[in-house]
């Protein structure tokens, strides 16, 4: 009986909830150390869970002991564990980063971040459509709160816009869930899967459409991207990092989940459309990133572009699963790299006291480690070897070629070049000589190292794709 206490799965949800609430209890600005210790434990738990899944297949946890249709089941398969690992791996360095970043004014950052992470873990582990809705809500509210954190009018405005989009999207998703419940009388994915016939009733179509639309809006896929740049570009650096690296991935994960496990028949029909939107996102996002002079906006627009890659997966999904792996690897690579990039940008802005590209002149000399981190993260975003981003790109091109769909190859390659264009736009600015009158603030070393660790992870992961693939194969359809 007591070995349930040793099961890492429930603790991955309980622990972040607990430290979030404790951080709230400790008061504004407190809780950094608690969070770091707890996150280290979470990373450890996620690793244990990963080994369990790798060795003996998907793990379930029956909450309340009731079992699927009546109660809620938690499920950890390869896909969810990969996302869980990403979450903890991104969160821990960012926590170290944030501790230094918020040396004075953390406000409610720690509880909000704790709830955000709890929501992510719960989302990745849930196998119940309604419970997923609850986790989405938790996630959105935490994210909105984080965006508003500084309390500046622009931040609050961006947060409100994000909130509206998020609530509408959640509403659409919920409507979809309600319809599914109306048709099949259950919201458990495992129970639903065998019920899905080949001739779905209209309600199911509508349901799939509503859920998909809601999730796309949350993922900020073009043309739903409009809320993202102000929200991610205006928030505090650790917040932007968390949001870009993890939060938008959560809804993508959900789209993937639904496509694979709930609506396999309907997905094929919308897949080309999703791919086209993804391609548009890549082009438009990159173009906007190239045009902006605001360094953080640039990174935010880059997120819009990079999210596009994730949706190229759908037209290539069947039948070999190569593209699925590409999508997950891209999500992970981008997660690590974008967290690193936002963290690095935070350091750069702190060091120069400016937020424009022009202000960057000379940083190559002052904060070389950070710039190096930015460059490494850039390598991943461009999809250059040996990074994880390259693996994703390789898998995508491979899948596209094996389907004979040449167009996507062009998009992937072109997107990589565009990414190179905006990444080097920053780098070359950093290599310029600093003007005489520029002044640099000293930056805590822990921030520089956190950014570097994340960036390095995104590159090193590119050398360890085999393990990741083995993990993803667990429980894959």
């Amino acid at each position: 009986m007591t070995d349930a206490f040793l099961d890492p799965l429930p603790w991955l949800i309980v622990l972040p909830l607990a430290w979030a609430a404790m951080a709230f209890l400790m008061g504004a600005g407190r809780g950094a150390r608690l969070a770091i210790v707890a996150l280290a434990m979470q990373l450890f738990l996620a690793l244990i869970l990963a080994t369990q899944v790798l060795e003996s297949g998907p793990v379930t946890h029956v909450v309340g002991g009731w079992g699927a249709p009546l109660g809620i089941d938690l499920l950890a398969d390869g896909l969810s564990v990969a996302m869980l690992l990403l979450t903890q791996a991104v969160a821990l360095p960012l926590a170290v980063y944030a501790q230094a970043y918020f040396s004075r004014e953390a406000g409610q950052f720690w509880p909000l971040a704790g709830f955000l992470l709890a929501a992510l873990n719960a989302l990745f582990l849930s196998a119940d459509l309604f419970n997923l809705y609850v986790t989405l809500e938790l996630l959105s509210l935490a994210a909105v709160g984080l965006v508003a954190l500084g309390g500046k009018p622009a931040q609050v405005a961006a947060a409100l816009r994000y909130l509206l989009v998020s609530l509408t999207a959640s509403g659409a998703y919920l409507m979809g869930v309600a319809l599914i419940y109306g048709v099949y009388g259950t919201v458990s994915i495992a129970t639903l899967a065998p019920l899905m016939g080949s001739a779905p009733p209209m309600a199911l179509w509508l349901s799939a459409g509503l859920m998909l639309t809601g999730l796309l809006a949350k993922t900020a896929l073009f043309p739903f991207h409009f809320w993202l740049p102000p929200a991610h570009g205006g928030a505090a650096a650790p917040v932007s990092a968390l949001l870009s690296a993890l939060v938008v991935k959560a809804s993508f994960y959900l789209v993937l989940r639904l496509a694979l496990d709930v609506f396999p028949n309907l997905t094929a029909l919308v897949a080309p459309g999703l791919g086209l939107l993804g391609a548009a996102a890549i082009l438009y996002g990159s173009w906007r990133a190239l045009r902006t002079h605001h360094i953080k906006r640039l990174v935010a627009w880059s997120t819009v572009a990079q999210l596009g890659y994730l949706f190229l997966v759908f037209p290539l999904l069947a039948p070999d699963g190569l593209a699925l792996q590409a999508g997950v690897v891209q999500a992970i690579a981008h997660g690590l790299a974008k967290a690193a990039m936002f963290a690095a940008v935070g350091v750069l802005m702190l060091a120069t006291g400016r937020d424009t590209l022009e202000g960057l002149a000379g940083v190559a000399h002052r904060v070389p480690l950070t710039l190096f981190a930015f460059g490494l993260a850039g390598v991943t975003l461009m999809g250059l070897p040996p990074s994880a981003g390259f693996l994703a790109k390789w898998l995508l091109i491979d899948a596209a070629l094996s389907h004979g769909q040449w167009g996507w190859v062009a998009v992937v390659i072109g997107g990589g070049l565009l990414a190179a264009a905006y990444v080097f736009k920053v780098l070359r600015q950093a290599f310029l000589l600093a003007p005489e009158d520029s002044r640099f603030q000293p930056v805590p070393r822990s921030m520089e190292w956190a950014a570097f660790v994340l960036a390095a992870a995104s590159v090193v992961l590119g050398l360890r794709g085999v393990e990741l693939m083995a993990l993803l194969a667990q429980g894959a359809p």
Partner: protein
């Protein structure tokens, strides 16, 4: 991990690790940095020596690491790899020495030497790559590692050059990647193999394979500076002299040329390539590049730009040699890989010395430099004569073999191309020599840094490397038939390619 697996990794590590440490070093730790640099260079030299001995004795050195299921990083140190590795290692040592002297007191040296080491690591990786994927990984790494070197000075002009460089090389990388993935789709994972591995596909896929060939060659052709993909090379001249030396003699253009060798010989196989009618167009492209590069060089007043166009022309000798069907041409191309390296590095060292000591940047400013800097000018002269193909120099050896190869392959027009190029070579090098030795020196040099009173014409760290490499040009030409010469090594490789 056996020793034979560890050695290739050790070769990589001998420049990678010092490079990473150097990044972290504070700017003023000159001594530590120099020690690390030299330690890495000598360690690599020793390791490569070990490999050379081993390969001559028939050992196989290799290491594999699976990145994705069916996608492996493969390193192997075979004879061809070692040809390139030896060249790079030796020249790296000299370039490092030169750079230490050249950059004395300059800012951002930790960054410079860090990327410098990364750059050589990438070159080693390219040399040892055992399949196209591995080749691509290091090919892109090379792009990334050289960019900061090109823009090192941080001036707007440097930025412009760097941007152009990136645009070309990343674009080339994209083409290369497409070709590689396409090929993987056709064959699955496959290692480089003597005689190629595509022949089994037969002629059914000929159309696809021709497209792939085009993509691959275009991809590596950017770094090789094949016309019309050469536009970045003259722009990249804004880099400091050691970087230019590295780019032109060891790293970037050579990586491209080396890629062409691997693709033609060990992916397609020269016979299969011939059967797909791929070699003749390649030869034509190389010929055009040779003539066009030489022609453009005639009109450059900027010394480094003239040398740059010279490189455009000379590197395609290698490609031309590869495109000539038959062992003799192959030997000519391969040996030129080495010969062009030592000649061109000498020229750039000297150009750097002129600029550093006297502020001479242009051909028109070089009047009388021979009397002011006799040793430098002597080295320059030897290398220039080599480029022209004057007998007893390394250049003469390559040209001779190439011409023989062309005749053997029934491509007589190639001889014409080579002669034309040689005439152009003479036309753009001889005026420089004449000006340097014969014309009187001006009253004031453009920007004199080294006072004339001293015994040496410039710092010994700047002087020694060009003298040694110039000597090597002569040695490689005079002792071409010796067993340890580059020519013999090239013959060994060509023998393995054609006489399987």
């Amino acid at each position: 991990m056996t020793l034979n697996e560890a050695l290739p990794l050790a070769v990589l590590a001998s420049s990678l690790l010092p490079g990473l440490v150097i990044f972290a070093l504070p700017e003023h730790w000159v001594g530590t940095r120099t020690t690390l640099n030299l330690f890495g260079a000598f360690a690599k030299l020793a390791l490569v020596g070990l490999l050379l001995a081993g390969v001559s004795a028939g050992e196989n050195y290799g290491f594999r690491h699976e990145v994705l299921p069916g996608l492996e990083l493969v390193f192997k140190a075979d004879a061809l790899a070692l040809l390139f590795m030896t060249l790079s290692t030796v020249l790296w040592l000299f370039t490092t020495l030169y750079a230490i002297g050249y950059l004395e007191g300059a800012p951002h040296r930790s960054r410079f030497f860090g990327f410098f080491s990364l750059c050589v690591t990438a070159t080693m990786g390219i040399a040892m790559a055992g399949n196209l994927f591995t080749f691509f990984v290091f090919y892109e790494l090379l792009t990334l590692a050289t960019f900061p070197l090109v823009v090192h000075r941080g001036t707007p002009q440097a930025m412009k050059g760097g941007t152009v460089y990136l645009a070309y090389t990343l674009g080339g990388g994209a083409l290369l990647l497409t070709g590689i993935v396409w090929l993987y789709g056709l064959t699955g994972a496959a290692d480089f193999a003597h005689g190629g591995y595509l022949a089994v596909l037969g002629s059914e896929k000929a159309g696809q394979l021709q497209w792939v060939f085009f993509l691959l060659i275009a991809g590596v052709g950017v770094k090789t500076a094949l016309v019309p993909l050469h536009g970045w090379l003259p722009q990249a001249m804004v880099a400091p002299a050691p970087v230019s030396a590295l780019l032109h003699a060891v790293a970037v253009v050579k990586a491209g040329a080396f890629g062409v060798v691997r693709i033609v010989y060990e992916v397609y196989g020269v016979e299969f390539a011939q059967s797909l009618d791929l070699l003749a167009p390649l030869a034509v492209a190389a010929a055009i590049t040779i003539v066009w590069g030489s022609f453009r060089a005639l009109f450059q007043d900027d010394l480094k730009k003239r040398l740059a166009y010279s490189t455009v022309s000379q590197v395609s000798y290698i490609v031309l040699g590869v495109a000539l069907f038959g062992p003799i041409g192959t030997i000519g191309g391969l040996v030129h890989l080495v010969h062009q390296g030592i000649m061109k590095i000498t020229l750039f060292f000297c150009a750097g010395n002129y600029a550093e000591a006297l502020g001479i940047h242009k051909v028109s400013e070089i009047n009388g430099a021979g009397r002011r800097m006799p040793l430098t000018t002597a080295a320059f002269t030897i290398a220039a004569l080599g480029m022209m193909g004057v007998p007893l120099t390394a250049g003469a050896v390559s040209k001779a073999w190439l011409m023989d190869g062309a005749r053997a392959a029934d491509m007589g027009w190639v001889t014409g191309v080579l002669w034309t190029s040689s005439v152009f070579n003479a036309a753009y090098f001889l005026p420089i020599l004449w000006r340097a030795w014969m014309r009187p020196a001006p009253a004031v040099w453009p920007e004199e840094h080294i006072p004339a009173k001293g015994r040496r014409e410039t710092a010994w760290l700047l002087l020694l490397p060009p003298l040694i490499t110039a000597a090597a040009v002569l040695v490689a030409g005079v002792f071409a038939e010796a067993g340890w010469s580059p020519l013999s090594w090239a013959e060994l490789i060509a023998g393995r390619e054609y006489l399987r």
